[in-house]
Subunit: 138 residues, 6 copies
Amino acid sequence: MNYKTAVIRKEHFNAAHRLHNSHWSIEKNQEVFGKCNNPNYHGHNYELEVKVIGFINKDTGYVIDTKILSDLIKTEILDRFDHKNLNLDVLEFKRLNPTAEHIAVVIYNILRAHLSEELELKIKLYETSRNFVEYPIY
Amino acid sequence: MNYKTAVIRKEHFNAAHRLHNSHWSIEKNQEVFGKCNNPNYHGHNYELEVKVIGFINKDTGYVIDTKILSDLIKTEILDRFDHKNLNLDVLEFKRLNPTAEHIAVVIYNILRAHLSEELELKIKLYETSRNFVEYPIY
Amino acid sequence: MNYKTAVIRKEHFNAAHRLHNSHWSIEKNQEVFGKCNNPNYHGHNYELEVKVIGFINKDTGYVIDTKILSDLIKTEILDRFDHKNLNLDVLEFKRLNPTAEHIAVVIYNILRAHLSEELELKIKLYETSRNFVEYPIY
Amino acid sequence: MNYKTAVIRKEHFNAAHRLHNSHWSIEKNQEVFGKCNNPNYHGHNYELEVKVIGFINKDTGYVIDTKILSDLIKTEILDRFDHKNLNLDVLEFKRLNPTAEHIAVVIYNILRAHLSEELELKIKLYETSRNFVEYPIY
Amino acid sequence: MNYKTAVIRKEHFNAAHRLHNSHWSIEKNQEVFGKCNNPNYHGHNYELEVKVIGFINKDTGYVIDTKILSDLIKTEILDRFDHKNLNLDVLEFKRLNPTAEHIAVVIYNILRAHLSEELELKIKLYETSRNFVEYPIY
Amino acid sequence: MNYKTAVIRKEHFNAAHRLHNSHWSIEKNQEVFGKCNNPNYHGHNYELEVKVIGFINKDTGYVIDTKILSDLIKTEILDRFDHKNLNLDVLEFKRLNPTAEHIAVVIYNILRAHLSEELELKIKLYETSRNFVEYPIY
């Protein structure tokens, strides 16, 4: 069979972060970001779903080996984000506000560079079980 | 960054309802809707996912502030649907059969009127953990 | 082996109910039960965990066959509670307020009568994913 | 109302399987499929989501009666896949490697033949809570 | 009825923390706490289950009104722990290492002081979906 | 602080198995175990919760380091059970019927031998999300 199929691998990481716009006053930051602006940080258990879309390989029956996908996520994302302070420890957020939206875009850009062009990529990121984002849109 | 992204907020409400078509006989209603036609009603814990799609705002890093989205859902949906009898207490279902499909469409129409035009809206509604609907289709 | 072990079977039912004390005034009921007192009822997806404790049977390796336990729950509980209005359709709640606590005790008493004396029984009942009860206490 | 809506029914089945390409050597199979190649099989609790897309019927308020959909899944899929060895007991996998991707495509093809042409069909299959596939792509 | 029953209310909070023993060297802290010792903190979505055990009140059918219990948890725990840095913002952890075990004991002690003596109290705290603690033991 | 506390670590493994009593006839096995008796095996995603009870260590704030507990479970249980056929590949089930009850007792006995005597141990094993066992009883 030769059908276009999506494979999703779910991973998780724990991190501290703080929402903040350095071009704004303390008051404006407090007004817009509320308790997410706590200067001492707060944190989340992020659940990450990485969706890879492509044709099923006739020899393996795989779109992509989930072991290979899991290892890629571990090396490129978890080793850099897990048990970290996103604002202080992760280069990409030195100047970029680590909202769930921005984290999803950053993860997309990192992983995109490691996947072959025939494969489509989509990211779903849960900040809590009630707040989550998708990029690019499904 | 200026990327199209989806933000999803999950809320829930509890309600009683009954499936019934007033143009049909008792027997026909019983045949089609089975135990969902119980004249004394039954009920569900509805889980509601509201997806808003748009561009990330460069100043906030948000497509939409989930606090604002959550407040909107509370005011427009939960305050009117939660701990209610959908057939008796909610205007929209006086003549409309409160199937999961119809509830999703009604919620879409209510929320659509409160969101700016640049934002796309999608509703996912779980009636039980094994039965759920999406409108408009994803 | 001959070890005391617990077996848990999870089932679910959907029902409408209303919290109400008929010896109280309308105002008192409203004050104590709030929106749970809605005269038109509201409803829930109840998740029910039935725990049976006993010795493992040497021939089967079972404390109790979960198929038999599931059938018992179906016949004695689900057929009487599922897609029902607990206040109007279920005899036990004609005079007993159908709080989660009372529903758990009623289910315990019904199932207790159908299990052999060597088996211990415990009920866990989820009214929502955030409110649940256990009887007898674990 | 006459709106295009998706209805999803979730079911599950338990099965043993083994990933294997009979055209490859033992070493090559071991290298590509690792512990999934165990000649004695391993197994999973598969969670299956069947999504049916169509217009809401004005008389019923349904896209499709989930009871009818559930019965169809039971007859065509669960009765043939549940508590089975996919490689040995299920005709479709006599020569087709039972990866999650292939299982999803096989389920799609079986159910597609039983649904009217106006209805669109999509399959989501969880092999574990961290590995799942979608066909056709969402 | 007058039966001893347990009522559980589930709440959640997000917080940053760092595991650290100030009497130990940097090396010893790193060796014991590993990446949980990150000086810039990391964080979690803590899920908190508060179990209250007592007799069912004959008038209300409640052991305790979950609305009252939820408000108590909000005032005494969530307002002080949610979106905070446990090490820096919460008095009790100025000198106490904020492991899940210690957080559970601290929450127990705070809530215990606000519940009447006839009620028994038990805390279950999820640091992640795979790591959780109970105090006192169930 | 010096309080008795429980720490739970959740892990999972996938395996094939078959319920069978070799002292019984084919018919008797079929009658008692039904589709679980399939001679070609079926399988499950087993979710395993290992609960360790003890006093909190004053220096670490831990009852037991969950990293150490997780490594122990991996070495002693997952490496021997994951992606295996319990009946054919796991010594303990050569003559012992691999029901959930028996698997829990076997896991308890293996892990018990690796934990110091001051620590109490309890096993919870999910065969499916609706069938699970606890040993020793909670």
